[in-house]
């Protein structure tokens, strides 16, 4: 299954990408796709906090990713 993921802030810098398509098995969870991305980028793997949003919300880590989901990876936020 192909899933489009986007990277924000320093994660865009360290991946060198704004977005990319990942090929993951059906049934992959949020936790699973995070491990997948940690496996691709050493500088993300090193981070204590890697936030994953799905469709604009922070999902449970055992939520299953569906085809068409909008997945985003980013570091802790610093607005305000």
């Amino acid at each position: 299954m192909k899933v489009k993921v986007r990277y924000y802030a320093s994660f865009r810098d360290v991946t060198g990408k704004q977005e990319e398509w990942l090929d993951v098995p059906e049934g992959t969870t949020v936790q699973g796709i995070r491990e997948h991305v940690r496996g691709l980028y050493e500088s993300i793997a090193r981070r204590e906090q890697v936030l994953v949003a799905v469709n604009g919300a922070f999902p449970a880590l055992d939520r299953v990713i569906e085809e068409g989901d909008d997945v985003a990876f980013f570091p802790p936020v610093s607005g305000g």
Binding site: Y8, D13, F58, P75, V77
Partner: protein, 142 residues
Amino acid sequence: MIKIQREDFDVGGLHASLKTRGSGCVVTFVGTVRDTSDGRPVSRMSIEVYEGMARAQLEAIAGEAADKFGVDRVEVVHRYGDLEVGDNIVFIGVSAGHRDQGFEACRYMIDELKKRVPIWKREYTPDGVVWVEGDRREQGPG
């Protein structure tokens, strides 16, 4: 109303739009660009936002503030793009019957914003450009 915009905002106008005949107070928080950050001089800042999600999170936070504290109206504006020292970054305003509600709701909203709204600052310091991430600073590529 929730707004995410590049332009500055008008504090007086936002204030006026918060008032209702039943409100006894308006409490506002405005975040501004400081000339230092963790003891380092900052010359300017740029702000990145994941806009769709930021809007959804801010709307959720405004709804939570209304439910928890019974506020009358809420106004939130967050800027993005390039900002100079002294520029406004964010406006959080609430009107409420009493000051307990007003202060608590305003404080709740800025605290939640700083935890969960996908917005990031990048500070320009003599050591280079630094991403601000949560309470920590991470050295960026330049």
